[in-house]
């Protein structure tokens, strides 16, 4: 009883054809991806943002829900190994010297958003204001989502392209982009740029951040870490 046992094996050919197309797609993917990005960057409707890899930011959160913070209830604390712990409201941060940086954003999962303006207070200025004690060698960052953490060495934190960002794309930082305040580390993969930043703590050693406990590199230079060779962003 080999019903349908005759006739050409179209099913097998379709399966093999899919495997061949898949392999061809992997080989041609980088070029096709670039073509898609070219088209998407000229799309005035923004609909292409819904396409796979169609450019734009993707929302990643490690917790179930993130509370909203506004100018009314937001505070940023700078503590740990400092001379005088400081606490800032959003208005305090807005009143400080602002710096605007326009660089590409590169995510370690592959997506890249070209020429994105970030604006805010230099992290170095906040460290200076708090007075870093000599035994401090690293900076830890905490977030009001309750889970996410990040870290930098003191030298990395003092770079002039590391911001406590208040604005992105020339608008106040929206909640889904980590607003009202996020970290922005221009030369590193975007997981270093912690969203919903609410604490800065000087420490004596580098404390690996959230994703770094799951294998991501602590020193996350774009193009020189995480086994990737993307074009550097700074």
């Amino acid at each position: 009883m080999r019903a349908g046992g005759e006739g050409p094996p179209v099913g097998r050919r379709v399966v093999l054809g899919m495997l061949g197309l898949g392999a061809a797609g992997v080989a041609a993917g980088p070029y096709l991806q670039r073509a898609v990005e070219n088209v998407a960057s000229k799309d005035p409707t923004g609909l292409s943002g819904l396409l796979p890899g169609g450019g734009g930011f993707r929302y990643y959160s490690v917790t179930g829900s993130v509370p909203d913070r506004t100018a009314a209830d937001y505070t940023l604390t700078v503590g740990g190994l400092v001379e005088k712990p400081v606490s800032y409201t959003l208005a305090d941060l807005q009143a400080m010297r602002q710096r605007r940086i326009v660089r590409d954003v590169q995510c370690v999962t592959g997506w890249r958003v070209p020429g994105t303006p970030f604006e805010g207070v230099l992290l170095a200025d906040l460290l200076e204001a708090a007075g870093v004690r000599p035994e401090a060698t690293a900076v830890g960052f905490g977030c009001f989502d309750g889970s996410y953490t990040e870290s930098l060495t003191l030298d990395q934190a003092r770079r002039d392209d590391v911001l406590v960002a208040l604005r992105m794309q020339d608008r106040p930082l929206a909640h889904e982009h980590g607003g009202p305040v996020r970290l922005y580390v221009a030369p590193m993969y975007f997981y270093k740029s912690a969203k919903w930043l609410d604490s800065i703590t000087l420490t004596s050693t580098v404390q690996p951040g959230y994703w770094e406990h799951f294998g991501y590199d602590v020193d996350a230079w774009v193009g020189r870490s995480n086994g990737r060779d993307d074009a550097p962003t700074a």
Binding site: R2, V10, G11, V14, M18, G25, G29, P30, Q33
Partner: protein
């Protein structure tokens, strides 16, 4: 696009079946088990993919690490039910039916293109055969590209970029194909009964699958 009321042949659920036309065994327990576990895994893969991919869902669900882990393991497990099911003779026979294209399958495809309703089929129609083969191939490609994305040290970066590209776009295609599969099953209660209980009405089988040997021989399955 509903048919004129009363023009459909009565289904087995609304009309008592004549005693000499009992229900026909279409799928054994093993085949149904393979189908339902595979579909559960596929739906979890699609749902978690949506939560990783679409910003509104991502913002609603969050918990990225948990969602990624569920997606990875369900994806890895997706081919397992079918591989285990290969131990079943009935399933192997159906795979061979799905694999081969008979002349009436080409006729079926032509009829679809001409929107004709004379669509001859064996146990599986040509659309079901193509869907099965395409989905099997797609699952293998998703598995391969997914592993390249999961184990980042497995391959050089350009492979991973290409794998991400294929995985993203094929995911959309798979979602469309699965939606089409669900749409077709939503339109045919008897086909759903076949996959739920394993048995179908002989009249339905003779009408929808006239070249199915079991239907042609009126080979009644006993229980």
């Amino acid at each position: 696009m509903t048919s004129t009321p009363g023009s459909d042949a009565p289904t087995g659920e609304t009309t008592p079946r004549p005693p000499e036309r009992g229900p026909l065994l279409r799928f054994t327990r093993a085949e149904r088990w393979v189908h339902w576990t595979s579909s559960a895994l596929m739906l979890v893969c699609l749902a978690t993919a949506g939560c990783l991919y679409f910003p509104p869902l991502a913002e609603l669900v969050g918990r990225r690490r948990l969602v990624v882990t569920v997606h990875e393991w369900c994806g890895l497990a997706l081919p397992v039910p079918l591989l285990l099911g290969l131990g079943s003779r009935a399933l192997r026979a159906d795979l061979s039916r799905l694999n081969r294209f008979a002349p009436y399958d080409r006729e079926w495809l032509r009829a679809v293109r001409r929107r004709s309703f004379r669509r001859p089929a064996g146990k599986f129609n040509a659309g079901q055969k193509l869907y099965a083969a395409w989905t099997a191939g797609a699952v293998l490609v998703m598995l391969g590209t997914g592993l390249l994305m999961w184990f980042t040290r497995l391959a050089p970066l350009v492979w991973r970029t290409g794998a991400t590209f294929v995985h993203d776009w094929l995911a959309v295609a798979v979602a469309v194909a699965v939606a089409g599969h669900l749409y077709q099953s939503a339109r045919d209660p008897e086909a759903r009964r076949g996959m739920r209980t394993g048995r179908v009405d002989e009249g339905w089988a003779a009408r929808e699958h006239p070249y199915w040997d079991a239907a042609a021989n009126a080979d009644r399955a006993d229980r």
